[in-house]
Structure formats: C-alpha cells, structure tokens
Symmetry: D2
Subunit: 254 residues, 4 copies
Amino acid sequence: MRIDLNADMGESFGPWPMGADDVLLGFVTSANIACGFHAGDPDVMAKAMGTAVRNGVGIGAHPGFPDLQGFGRRRMDVPPATLANLVRYQLGAAQGMAKAAGGQVRHLKLHGALGNMTAEDEELARLCYDAALSIDPDIIVMVIAATAQERAARALGCAWAGEIFADRAYNDDATLVDRRHPGAVIHDPAIAGPRIAQMVKERAIITENGKRIETEIDTICLHGDTAEAVEIARSVRAALEAEAIEIHTLDGRR
Amino acid sequence: MRIDLNADMGESFGPWPMGADDVLLGFVTSANIACGFHAGDPDVMAKAMGTAVRNGVGIGAHPGFPDLQGFGRRRMDVPPATLANLVRYQLGAAQGMAKAAGGQVRHLKLHGALGNMTAEDEELARLCYDAALSIDPDIIVMVIAATAQERAARALGCAWAGEIFADRAYNDDATLVDRRHPGAVIHDPAIAGPRIAQMVKERAIITENGKRIETEIDTICLHGDTAEAVEIARSVRAALEAEAIEIHTLDGRR
Amino acid sequence: MRIDLNADMGESFGPWPMGADDVLLGFVTSANIACGFHAGDPDVMAKAMGTAVRNGVGIGAHPGFPDLQGFGRRRMDVPPATLANLVRYQLGAAQGMAKAAGGQVRHLKLHGALGNMTAEDEELARLCYDAALSIDPDIIVMVIAATAQERAARALGCAWAGEIFADRAYNDDATLVDRRHPGAVIHDPAIAGPRIAQMVKERAIITENGKRIETEIDTICLHGDTAEAVEIARSVRAALEAEAIEIHTLDGRR
Amino acid sequence: MRIDLNADMGESFGPWPMGADDVLLGFVTSANIACGFHAGDPDVMAKAMGTAVRNGVGIGAHPGFPDLQGFGRRRMDVPPATLANLVRYQLGAAQGMAKAAGGQVRHLKLHGALGNMTAEDEELARLCYDAALSIDPDIIVMVIAATAQERAARALGCAWAGEIFADRAYNDDATLVDRRHPGAVIHDPAIAGPRIAQMVKERAIITENGKRIETEIDTICLHGDTAEAVEIARSVRAALEAEAIEIHTLDGRR
C-alpha cells in the first residue's frame, strides 16, 4: 500500500512571496506548481521546479484562470475552446520550465475555481483533461476523489490519481463541507493524521457523519501556509508511516 | 541554393485582430508565432499553429517582453536570469500549443525590443539562446545576419539561420537604416524582389551605399500587414524563383 | 422632445485598433469610453477624451471586468466589495483623463458582462451605481431601459437616463432577443431609423411581437464598428430629425 | 520648524500581502499609496486610503510603471506622451479611491524606476509633474531633495516638498550610495534618528564623507517592511521630537 502527498507550490509572484515551499518539500512527494495565470511567474516557476527536482519531488502543472488579483478563485465564464487552450498553454509552459530545470511534468491538477467547476461538471473536466492529454498522453491527472473529475478521467481512460484533503471534513455526498460551517477545517493535528491513515487503509472517504464512501485514494493534499498546516503534515506522515503505508510519488492508475 | 521566407503571425489578441495571417501563409515557409507576452493569447496561438501545420509552414516561437500595451517594442531593463526564464516560459508554451496542433516548434526568433537588444549585445543574445537550448537542444535560432545574434549562435555551436529583411535598407555596418531616414523602408515591389534575389545569390548584404557585406543568408523576413507588403512578398518570391533559388522551410546550419 | 445618441469608444488597446471613433463622432452626443480593464489604455483614453471634448460630445466612463482577453464579456464571480472598487477605480481614472483633456465625465455606463449581470440583478446594479455616486454624486447613470439597472437608479434617487438599442429586437419582457435568434439584430437601415423614432415618440419599447412597453427613453445606443452600423446611425438620426426630436447630449432625469 | 514623515503603503496585491501598513501608520504623516500598475489593486487601495483617512495621514498617489512582476523597479523605455498618460491615469484612479474613502490625494511621489529616472532627468520629471498638475494644479509634488526632480518642480512653480531617506547614506553629489556598497543602508536605529534630526535642523544633507549639501528638507522617507525599519522609524520620531521639530503632514512649498 502506497500513497502520495501533494501540496501547491510556486505561488509567489514577482516581489510577493507566498507559502513555505522549503518547509513543504520536507513532507510531500508531489508539488503542484502554479503556471503564471493565477500565481507564479517564470522566475518563481524556475525556482520551484529546480527545488522539486533537487528534492526528488514529482512536478505537477497547476493551471488556473487568468486572474492574478483573484488568485484564480473567481469563477469565469470562459468558452470551452478557450478553456482547453488555457490548459494547454500553461501545461506547455510548465513542461518547458521543468525541462530546463532538469525534470519533467508528471501530473496535472486544476487550480481554484477551475478545480471546483470541473469537480461539478464532468464534461468540463473531460475538456480540460483532454486538452492536457493532447500535449502529453501519459500525464497523470490528479482528480478530487469521487467527483466529476474522477468520472471524466475514467471515461478518458487516461492515467489518474484520486485525491483527498488532509484538513477538510466531508459531506455524505463526498463534497467538502463548506468552509463557513463549524468543523469544516480540521485544525487539530492529533485528529488529522489518524483520520487520514484510516481513510487510506479503508480505501474510503469517511464523512463528518461517519459514512464510508469507497473510493481510490492515491494522494493526500496538504496545505502549507500556516504553522498549523506543518503540524498537520507532520501528523499525517507519522500516522501513515505508523500504518506501514509507503509514502511514494504518484504512479497513476488507469 | 535554397532560402526560407518568414513572417510574424499570431499577433492578434483577444478581440483585436492584427495582421493578415491567411494571406501571408501563401508566401512564407516559416511563421514566427507570438507567445502571449507582447501579443497572442492561447486561442490566437492555437489558431495560428493549426493554420501553419495545415499549410506545411514551419512553426517558430517568437518570445517578447511582457508588455502588451507596448507590443514588446519598449526596452525593459530585465535581469538576465529573468530574461532567460521569460524565453523558456514562452518557448515551452509554444511547444505545448504546437504539439496540440499536430506540429512542433522548429525555430526561435526574438521579438521587438528583445530582438533589437540582443542584436547589439552578444552576451544577452547568448543568454536567451542558451535558455531556449536548455529546453530544445535542436531548435534553430533565427538570427539577424551579421549581428551579435549571429555571433552568439556561432559561439554556442547551435543550429542557426541568418535573416535579412525584404523591405529595409542597410547601413554599411550591416545594421538597418533608421526608419526616420528617407529610403529606410523599401516601398517599391519592383525594387524589393530583385534586390533580395541579388543578396541571396551573392551571399551578401548590399548596403544603401552599395557596399557588399558577405554573410550567410538563410531566411528573408516579410511583413504582411499592408497591401504593399503583400506586393513585396509576391515580388520577392517571383525574383527568387526567377533565379532558380528554391524556397524551402528552414534547415538550420551549425 | 429630445434624445441622446451614445456609442462605445476608446476600445483600442496598445497597437490594436478597434472601432471607428472618428466616424461615430459625427453621429453621437455621448461617448462611453473604456477605462483600461476590458479595453482602452491611458493613451487610447487620452485620445478618445480629447476627441470627444473637441467635438462637444459628452464623456462617459465605461467600466468593465478586468479581462482584456475576454473584452469584459465573460462573467466573473467577483465579490461585491471588489466590484464596487473596480467601478470606483475606473471611474476615477476616467475622471483624471477627462480633466486632463479639458472635459469631465458626465455619465457612467457598465460594460459587457458587468452590464448584463446588473441588468438582471438590482442589488448588483445598485452596488455599482452607489460606488460611482460615492465619487461623483451628480453623475448620470445610463441604464438599460426597463431592467434592474433602471430600478436600481430609481431606488438610489440619482440622475439617470434610459437607454434602448438602435439595432436590436426586443422580447415582450423588455429583454433583448438572443443574438442566435433570427431577426435579433436589425441590419436594414430603412427599418432601424423609423422603428427607433416611433419608440422615442411613443415613449415605449416596441417588441418583436408588437407589444408596447412604456418606459423612459433618453438615449439610443449605436454601434459603430461596421459599414452597416454607420448606415443605421445615419438612418436613426434622419428619422429622429424628421420627427423634430432634438438630438442633444444627456441631461439625466431623477 | 516642522517635518513630514512618509512611507510607501498599499503595496499588497490580490492574495499577496506586503508591508506593515498598520504599524507604519503609527509613525507617518503621509502615505504614498500604490496605484495598481506596479502594486496595489482597487481593493488594496480602498483599504489603504480608508486607513489613512481614519488615522489623519495625508494621502499621496504613488504611480509607477505598468510592471507588476518587476514591482515597477525595472526601467522601461516608454515614450514621453505615454509616460504622461500613465501618471494621469494612476493619479485619477487614486483621486477616485480617495474620494470614496472620504479623503483626497494631497501629494504625488513617483515610484521605483520611474522615480530613479526622473531624479536623473529634469525634462522627464517635468513631464510627469506637469501631467499630474493637469489634473490637480494644487497637488504637492514630493521630490528627492537636490535632484532633477526638485529642479523640475521649481521650474514648474508648483507646490513641492523635498525628501530625504531615513536609512540611506549619501554621496557627495547628493545621490544615494549604491546599495551594494558597505554602509549604504543604515541599520542602526541609534545612528539613524540623530543623523536625520541633524540634517533637518541644519537644512542640509550630510554625506557619508561629512560634506554638507544645503537643501530644503520637508519630508523623511521611512521604510516599513522589516522589524529594523520600525526601530528606525521610532528612532527618527524620537530624535525629531527631542529637537522640538514638529511632525506634521505636508504643506508644500513653492
């Protein structure tokens, strides 16, 4: 039994730092690197890619909407063909930067509002994944487990990996509990680690109500911008290791 | 004896058209496609790449400064490492878009102020070309003949192609006559074609004063945004064909 | 009886021209000038403002979403406070440019997707208008007649002007017929002019089905980017003058 | 005898915070607020303006080059007319945001590379200041003391204020010692405060070599992004108060 740990990186821009990439690199096996549209710039990408390569961390392209001020978190009503080209352009740029850094892009994860919209809409997810596959047919698509993203990847027959979140509570339909709801975000490292280890072991999302939703779990999303997040990352790693679950970069399933 | 004809394409942006790509595709064998920083967007690139592939025209990445309002024509004092990453990012994006369109990027040409600055500064040219080669060691670098760009390409030992301009007069040091000077731009198709054919045949730039500067001439830059430019393109093609010079996409020399 | 004629202007950007501002200035009494977020840049604004001042045409700020590639036509899910600040920023910039050109901003019209969203949502319209009024309490808000925009302006008690479109057919609920529907756009100048003159005279929108919707009509929106549009503008002016309706820049009603 | 203390504020962008505006507001009497081209966005501006108004701190527009990635610190070869319009646009936007926040823009300070270029080139400085005066003839231009900026303001006959830097050493020609030179930046609060108080009292810049350059000193530039900077701000205030120099927002001299 093995599992990948992923986190968003390379989210600085120009003079503005964001995140704690150096700390996170001690915990993760995959990095989702912003591609310049919602965050990141070519210098930030070069640095993030280089660090990932040196640490043996798998590189992922993390495309988002062209909306720097909104950090790609604001939904935009972009026509499908434009959406496909946005994904292609950002993936291509990421591949170039990765190559120059001595690595390669292994996976794709959709960022922010683009991630949310494709988790709800299989056709949209399929469009974006298909766009990525037109550039790299072997790329591993990282999907939010048990959502339209997963259905799209299965329908396309491409390599994919199911993702759950280390610090978020789940509703009984496998969606995330709304952040405004108490208990939506898990702040206690003592709870986060064992909870995730249990889900991985049982191959199921365990909801807030205790319901088990069987699903493929291949990667755990960690956040890294707070001191607390580092404690949660530590707790998750420790709990997984205690269960003898190997922490290993993505392989992708089909 | 063979020669390539190139032109800038894909310089529209969003709702704003620019150029006459469809007309130019009847004349050229290489297209320099803008990469989204000074012009072009992912949709424009997709369209330009697709059209180039369907017409058997060689695709080039045409990176420029991140300056849409200034169309990449305003010099920017960008640190060398940043410059290298700008070239990498744009080349990578172009490669991705080309792949998705069923083609590939064969050459690189630097746009606007970035082109002018590197034609004057060998170190800067080398930095940019080296950045491109870090992504594709086989890419053909299109250099302005007899400038620092050519010296940089020779020093790097990479594949390159020397370029002259169909409609511009030359000074005795192989630089272009300033546009503000009368006679700087050649408007008469009856002059443009035979003049270019002579230069190609003689393997030399012939300056305004009649001086011959021996140099490798592999490609002719055409402009395509005016009715006159189309007449010049037509005249250049006719004159080359009259001299039995084969018009053929870039091979690159070393 | 008097009426204003308005058109969008200053929609060029950097090297990319758009529209035929010089032609339109012969027909209109108000210009809606883009403010740099969806189109326009400071140079384009300066030129458009200067021309408007010299032609005695009323200047309007025409703010839109921060989306150059999408020309402000793509809906964006921007939080209310951010929307208010977008309007304020763009109106302030327009006021500065107008002042420097020897004029002043007299009216505000919301562009593209922002216009469409506020025509459907009174609260959103009120938010945007209130933002503008926080900078200039006397500004005239140009509203799409008989929509949520008009209701918002009435509720705020500010100066406003009701707008209809010279070349668009109307549904029985006063919304525009979808562009994909045949007959949605009126292409025949011989029809457009008399139809508009009748609406103005009768103080009512006359729908595709012949229904009369009584409403205040203070300004007619002309488009100017096609040869046909100029003929329609000419026809509208002629028909209004034939009915002795004075063509005069906006006053604003309360 | 009175003096103003100024600092740059509102330099966050979208999700990226910068600076410690809340801390600085306890020390300064004038805030130079970024206008969205090199930093700041409409939300950031609204917040910074509002805080300045509530704290009785004078608001300044701080326009820069349109270069977010480079934070306006990279020189750009922008034509003069374009430069003037950049200043106008940003000042207008700042005025709008200030009005909405219940305040007004009292001064103008040029940011980054635009500041450096105008400190060296009187004609360029005059162009930028003239552009600002075309919108507000009473605006106070904040000039780097004893540079081309000051000469430009004097030549224009506009209201101006001479500025020195709290933590930077001076060359004998009144330029700042290059940051790469040891001692260029003053890190010791115990030195910074008394040094500045002496300059203000003596109405002279005192250079690294001890040379006195007589000049009008109306405002002291503080930096606020480091813990050290806060200590320096504290030291400067204390030293000025010890000399009974009144700390008071800008009046502007002519």
